[in-house]
């Protein structure tokens, strides 16, 4: 698998570390149920998914990667700092 880092270009999987689902962070005063879901409740899709990856051995940026767990196709990569996926 190769991931196209928006800063570095296409790089080998070994430079990246997987973190998990890219979810919007609840507001600080959101109810416990929202934080519980944010921390613990995950889908396990066989298909399109959106994950956080760390370009650990490269530019050290956090990335939001949209990919398909069934076909391994990657649809898009963006910087987490500029992504709406992780904003509430």
């Amino acid at each position: 698998m190769r991931i196209k880092c928006p800063l570095c270009g296409e790089r080998d999987l070994r430079e990246f570390t997987y973190r998990g689902a890219a979810l919007p962070r609840p507001a600080p005063d959101a109810p416990d149920e929202a934080w519980d879901a944010y921390l613990h409740l995950r889908d396990n899709p066989a298909g399109p998914t959106r994950d956080l990856w760390h370009h650990r051995a490269g530019c050290s940026a956090w990335l939001v990667v949209r990919r398909d767990t069934a076909t391994h196709e990657i649809f898009g990569v963006e910087l987490a700092t500029r992504s709406r996926a992780v904003r509430a």
Binding site: L7, C8, G9, R11, D12, R14, E15, R56, A57, G58, C59, S60, A61, L79, T81
Partner: protein, 183 residues
């Protein structure tokens, strides 16, 4: 007060030459990591321009003149090589001179040899003078800078410098051995 003896990062490491590939240990000067606060790349670049005559580098690029090099080092980060920097408004500035070992690989086989070790496309068409990449040499995170004449500068973290030096020497030997088999 205890009188401590300063040791340079490359104190136990020697230059090495193998066929058409030469590994040297040039003096890098000061290495200063600069991290601009969000949205401050432009003013920090202006301050660097005033101080060194070089601005803020684009991703994957190195700016250089006779006295200094500024290498892109990640989002909002740059590495200033050469003159020491004290501080810059709008940025965190950290002296890392002691933290990296600079190794230079040159010669006709340098490009070929490095591509054995790093998972990067280092062909002349995609990586040359003025390019920089952070990647892995084996399992060690390194910084590669392209130089004129097919040469490369490699910055390895001091704690892993002997590993990377050993990996480079082995890559030089393996490449020659494989070429001898093909001949």
């Amino acid at each position: 007060m205890v009188d401590l003896i300063a040791r340079l990062p490359g104190a136990e490491i020697d230059a090495h030459s193998e066929g058409d590939c030469v590994l040297g240990l040039p003096e890098p000067g000061a290495l200063t990591w600069v991290s601009a606060e969000p949205g401050q790349e432009k003013p920090v670049g202006k301050a660097l321009q005033d101080a060194l005559g070089l601005g803020w580098p684009r991703p994957g690029r190195v700016l250089s003149n006779a006295q200094a090099r500024i290498a892109w080092f990640g989002d909002r980060q740059a590495l200033v090589m050469g003159p020491a920097l004290k501080s810059l408004a709008g940025a965190a500035v950290v002296d890392q001179s002691d933290g990296w070992l600079l190794m230079r690989v040159e010669g006709a086989g340098a490009r070929d040899m490095l591509m054995r070790l790093l998972p990067l496309d280092l062909r002349a068409a995609s990586f040359g003078p003025g390019h920089v990449a952070r990647s892995l040499a084996g399992h060690v995170p390194v910084i590669v800078l392209g130089r004129r004449g097919g040469a490369f500068d490699l910055l390895a973290p001091r704690s892993m410098a002997r590993t990377t030096h050993g990996d480079l020497v082995r890559a030089m030997k393996t490449r020659l051995a494989l070429r001898a088999l093909d001949a």
